[in-house]
């Protein structure tokens, strides 16, 4: 296949990031509270206890209990319950006055994402009507500017240093024998600088992310360091720092031992370079284990795709930065000679990297997107589309290098003027390409802080109607049946009433078997099912605390009429706090 055909195939493949089923991220969610949500107690409780589906870390959790006047009623820090590791407990003032109280909570999931929620309870016997509490806003999240910027700088510096290592040792090393050592020395210096920045950036990101999670200042390093390894996310990035430090040790040793002017590598050179390459491979495995890839099924496939995606992106981006370093570092008289050696070799490597980048990115997208329309209906999907758009622009620029500058530089001996003009074009195109890829890395950093849509997102497409927020009274028709759905008060973390009135030809349908299934379409949560009982002719109802969190819920009414064909009517309901 010619280069042009290759490029056409890759460009077409880059646009294909579609459909298919998969799982998504696992965020902590609340499964039980004491006092019960919206419940009225006879006496003042001593504590507030919140039970999650996983053992969330109390040092990163907030539980605030406030009265209707906004007075804080907690008397101590959040602690883990000795009886149940999944339960967090906070002590309350004794003898709380009669009235309503708001419990607002925030916890950090295993994958490092903050989750939050709120519910109310009352101390009786006569608490009066529930007031409208203002729910506190998010105190800090993974998409806050500080961790986002540090994450981008970290990814850029780590990827560039690994790409520069590959270019220096496996692509441009021949420069020393062909055109002298100037260019190679510049690449070595650039690699050392990038790896030092990478080391500092990983440490800064770990500090910023832990500061956000534990609601401390980034400068409170003494308090933050002991918290680094508390979450799986933190442990992952501490290990990444360790792996990257080992990569630096091995890579700098390989630089010291390298004798590129000799035609063959010695045993010592081979061993040191192999050590650095192994460490680089290890470094790029870590972000997947501490992020979405590890939470997405099948984890083996997504982790491999994530690793290949980072590796190919590193080779492409670091290589481009290396070409620019060469362009500026090599004196003008020797520039064309140096570039004519490196650019054609790098073009082949970059082409392979782009192919792997496109394929692995497509696999990851398919794995994370439950449906095609999740690409434009969810923030995660839109971020993927933006990233694909930026990469397509980078590919268009890359095609200029591949089809014009690389052949011109390869044929440098035949016409110096043509090669000189190609060298100028290369600088412009490589700069543009590097800036575009850096933009894609920024979007990737944003992506890793957003939650992918859960498989239940696909249920939105089956909904007959979209209702809420607020009390619901909505009628739909399905298979000749008229179905009136009532949800009241349609509030999250409260016992809501759900009712379905079924009529056919104006008459109530009696003795049907009705099951109501709840799925949150924006968050990974367990499915809940309740059987509705016939309370009046043709009216099936049930009260249940099913809407655990605010957001969009798929309410699927599975109806089996007596002597009729079963059918399902799905409603998309937005519950508010």
């Amino acid at each position: 296949m010619s280069l042009r055909t290759w490029f056409a195939v890759l460009t077409a493949a880059a646009g294909v990031a579609l459909a298919a089923p998969a799982a998504a991220s696992a965020h902590a969610y609340l499964i039980k509270t004491a006092p019960a949500a919206s419940g009225v107690l006879d006496s003042s409780p001593k504590t507030a206890a919140l039970t999650y589906d996983e053992a969330v870390e109390p040092r990163f959790a907030i539980i605030s209990v406030t009265s209707a006047s906004g007075k804080q009623e907690t008397t101590g820090p959040v602690r883990r319950s000795p009886a149940d590791p999944d339960t967090l407990v906070v002590p309350l003032r004794p003898n709380l006055a009669q009235g309503w109280y708001l419990v607002y909570w925030r916890a950090i999931s295993v994958d490092g994402h903050p989750v939050q929620g709120a519910f109310t309870y009352a101390v009786g016997p006569n608490p009066g009507p529930a007031p409208r509490f203002p729910i506190p806003s998010i105190a800090g999240s993974a998409t806050s500017p500080q961790p986002l910027v540090t994450r981008t700088v970290m990814f850029l510096s780590v990827m560039i240093s690994i790409g520069l290592f590959v270019l220096r040792f496996f692509v441009a090393r021949v420069l020393a024998r062909r055109t002298g050592g100037t260019g190679l020395r510049a690449l070595s210096i650039a690699y050392v600088i990038a790896s030092i920045v990478g080391l500092l950036a990983i440490a800064a990101y770990l500090d910023a992310a832990t500061a956000i999670d534990s609601l401390r200042s980034v400068f409170d390093v003494g308090a933050l360091v002991p918290l680094f390894r508390v979450t799986a996310f933190g442990r992952g990035y501490v290990d990444m720092l360790l792996c990257f430090a080992l990569f630096c040790v091995a890579g700098w040793t390989a630089l010291y031992l390298d004798r590129p002017e000799r035609p063959h590598r010695s045993v010592a050179e081979l061993a040191a370079q192999a050590g650095a390459a192994l460490a680089a491979v290890a470094v790029l495995l870590v972000p997947g284990t501490a992020g979405h890839a590890a939470q997405t099924s099948p984890a083996g496939v997504t982790l491999s795709a994530d690793w290949l995606h980072l590796l190919s992106g590193s080779v492409w981006l670091g290589g481009l930065v290396g070409l620019l370093v060469l362009w500026f570092a090599v004196p003008a008289v020797r520039r064309v000679a140096a570039l004519s050696v490196v650019v054609p070799r790098f073009s082949n490597v970059a082409l392979g990297s782009v192919a792997v980048l496109v394929v692995s990115g497509t696999i990851e997208t398919i794995d994370h997107m439950p449906t095609l329309n999740a690409l434009w209906k969810t923030g995660y999907g839109v971020a993927i589309l933006v990233k694909v758009g930026i990469l397509l622009a980078a590919l268009a620029v890359a095609s200029g290098n591949l089809l014009r500058t690389a052949p011109a530089l390869a044929a440098a001996g035949e016409g110096t003027r043509r090669a000189t003009s190609a060298s100028g074009l290369l600088r412009r195109l490589a700069s543009g390409e590097a800036v575009l890829i850096a933009g894609a890395v920024f979007v990737a950093a944003l992506l890793s802080s957003l939650a992918p849509p859960p498989p239940a997102f696909a249920l939105q497409n089956a909904a007959l109607a979209q209702v809420g927020p607020g009390p619901v009274a909505h009628t739909v028709t399905r298979d000749g049946y008229r179905l009136s759905v009532i949800v009241s008060p349609n509030k999250a973390a409260a016992p809501d009433s759900f009712a379905l009135r079924i009529t056919r030809n104006g008459r109530p349908v009696r003795h049907a078997y009705v099951v109501l299934t709840f799925n949150h379409t924006e968050m990974q949560m367990p499915q809940q099912q309740y059987q509705l009982t016939e309370t009046r002719p043709g009216i099936y109802a049930r009260e249940a605390p099913a809407l655990i969190m605010v957001g969009n819920w798929s309410l699927a009414f599975q109806v089996t009429p007596p002597g009729g064909q079963p059918f399902t009517a799905t409603i998309l309901d937005e519950a508010e706090g």
């Binding site: 990569f247 040793t253 031992l257 460490a279 491979v281 290890a282 495995l285 982790l303």
Partner: protein, 43 residues
């Protein structure tokens, strides 16, 4: 004598280079072991 000293110095240099290379290789292997352990916790 001078030749002996030169040979010894060259051998020492080679030994040192090999030692450094072994350290670099060990660093790479250690990094891979850390990453594999991390992967095993999530698979």
């Amino acid at each position: 004598m001078t030749e002996d000293r030169q040979t010894t110095a060259a051998s020492t240099r080679v030994a040192l280079r090999l030692l450094m290379a072994a350290a670099a290789l060990a660093a790479g292997i250690a990094a891979v072991v850390i990453a594999i352990q991390l992967v095993r916790t999530v698979l």
